[in-house]
């Protein structure tokens, strides 16, 4: 086990896959010599050269279109969209082209590609550089959607995404880039579509994703000292969704809380809540409560941003109040 930061784990995951498969190519803005704006791709340019690690113009549609055209003709491209907010500038390519082409052609076209992007708030970048947009991708049939919460998952799920035969949107949480953790040595490949139970509790289930996972864990610790034993599930992959694990835990505890970094409406938490309200209804002992950012863009000032996003305190207070 080596201790790596989340950003180092990303670079290690890309390197592992590029070394394994010569058909893996990596493109994006300032990813090459500069090592990426978030330094999550440091060393790749030097190791794999300018053909396989290629800087692009500021042309998000061309970046994603190029990845798509390459994927259908034999490459396994990884494309970086610098901030997930910019997915909007190439959303047609992602939601209408990449997501639908295999289906429309009844399987003639395969699209083994990964779109990596820096997601989420907490870094004071303001409303146009801080969104958590996993739900945009989750809402579109034909996209797989992954969002790791720690360095080991970052490497292992990225490797799995690159090996997956279908298009994967890979959300890297900006606020986690500096977080360190143990990452298995040697080749490390995880499994898409598997949630993880990080903590077992009998009273309620807290379901979280990405940067909300460590917050949920801390909240669970605090709740334990109040006598509330919370299970914490790290969703990890929104599509495919490991409903068996997630709903299984809901059934065990009878209570579900979701913690989302995105604004309130139509987040992934709503989907999971609606699944639980349908399929686990008889096992529910109380309301399903979603903890989200209010339905606003993230403000820039540190005090405002911190107060807007779900915090450990808010999770604790919400669960405590609802469990009374």
């Amino acid at each position: 086990m080596a201790e790596l930061s989340y950003r180092e784990a990303i670079a290690a995951g890309i390197a592992q896959e590029m070394a394994r498969d010569p058909m893996v190519y990596f493109i994006g803005e300032d990813i090459g010599a500069a090592g990426g704006v978030f330094k999550a791709t440091v060393g790749l340019f030097e190791r794999f050269g300018p053909d396989r690690v290629r800087d692009t113009p500021i042309s998000e549609q061309a970046i994603i279109g190029a990845a798509m055209g390459a994927a259908m003709t034999g490459l396994r491209p990884i494309a970086e969209i610098m901030f997930s907010d910019f997915l909007a500038t190439c959303w047609d390519m992602i939601a209408n082209q990449i997501a639908k082409t295999r289906y429309m052609t009844d399987g003639q076209v395969a699209l083994p590609l990964v779109i990596r992007t820096a997601n989420g708030g907490g870094t004071r970048f303001g409303a146009q550089h801080s969104q958590s947009l996993e739900n945009w991708a989750m809402a579109v049939p034909g996209l797989k959607v992954v969002a790791p919460s720690n360095p080991a998952d970052a490497k292992g799920l990225l490797a799995a995404a690159v090996r997956d035969p279908d298009p994967v949107l890979f959300f890297e949480q900006k606020s986690l880039y500096g977080v360190k953790g143990n990452v298995p040595d040697g080749e490390h490949v995880d499994t898409l579509g598997s949630a993880k139970v990080l903590r077992d509790g009998k009273d309620c289930t807290i379901v979280a994703l990405a940067a909300m996972v460590p917050k949920a864990m801390q909240a669970a610790e605090q709740l334990a000292s109040d006598g509330i034993q919370a299970t914490v599930v790290d969703v990890r992959s929104l599509v495919p969704l490991d409903t068996r694990t997630i709903l299984g835990e809901v059934v065990k505890t009878g209570r579900l809380f979701t913690v989302e970094e995105n604004p309130r409406l139509c987040g992934w938490g709503a989907e999971i809540a609606s699944l639980a309200a349908d399929e686990c209804f008889d096992d529910l002992d109380g309301p399903i409560v979603r903890i989200t950012t209010p339905h606003v863009p993230l403000p820039a000032a540190d005090v405002l941003e911190d107060a807007a996003m779900p915090s450990v305190e808010r999770i604790v207070a919400t669960v405590r109040k609802s469990m009374r």
Partner: protein, 335 residues
Amino acid sequence: MRIKAPATGEVERATRLRLYQLMVELRDFEQRAYELFLENLVRGTSHLALGQEAIGAGYGVAMRADDYTFCTYRGHNHTLARGASMGAALAELMGRGNGMLHGKGGSMHLTDVKHGAMGSYAIVGAHLPIAAGAAWSAQVRKSGQVAVCFFGDGTTNIGAFHEALNLAVVWKLPVVFVCENNLYMEYTPIEAVTAVKHPAADRASAYGLESILVDGNDADVMYDIARQTIGKARAGGGPSLVEALTYRHGGHSRADPAQYRPEAEVREWLARDPIKVYRRRLLEAGIGEAEIGDIEARAQQKVDAATEEARGGAPARVDEIERQIWSDGSATWRN
């Protein structure tokens, strides 16, 4: 560069016969599609390219079997020009289970990957970057393949056009962008919404490319420019942007009677029908009426057979709905 028709004799006889045959087949196919629509057998929308056959045919004949074609919702011609099955195409228009996409795509999305027809794209502009991507793949795989991307005049005003052209030039990709300027977007004349007279040719310099404007209704011209531009791309010379002037004989889509077009304009362009023009040229070049008639008869037979095949298909199978989202064939998003 403004390309004129190559002198008679410069294009070989066999190639010419092939060009004529292909144009007639494309024409007959779309005429048939229209008839089937009138019979209410084509339920979805369709966008015919009647009158624009010389472009798809010129490129189709010039392309290598493993080259890539990317086209639009007006893509019957380009797809069939690569050798895709007419029967499967008609069946797809009719929503049949034996359709090219088993009913899932429809007229706007004809695709036949095994013939290099990499898809028909229905959102304006999207396929230009995708074609660049296929060319990038060919470049790094050193396969010698070329991607040819067809689109309309109206498409030159959307952002994806600009991004694709710039990327293709910077990366020197083996891709040919072919703008079929048929003078209209849907119902609006292209000149009413475009800053320059020639929407593609007048913009080539913005990407450091040569300005190429050609007669898109002349199959010899189209074949010639296809050879040149594909040849350049294959030789590592990078992309080209071709503007081919043409005209659609009918409306934008099946819903459109096309009454916004001046009568004189329609008349002029009908007189320049690429098939009529080319038939005359073949006769002038000494190819006999009998040989031409034979080609025409065979095209009819081929379309008739395709029609039978399509008509014979059962409706699309409902279990297709939840198939082929993923590579394992399924549409499963949960366990």
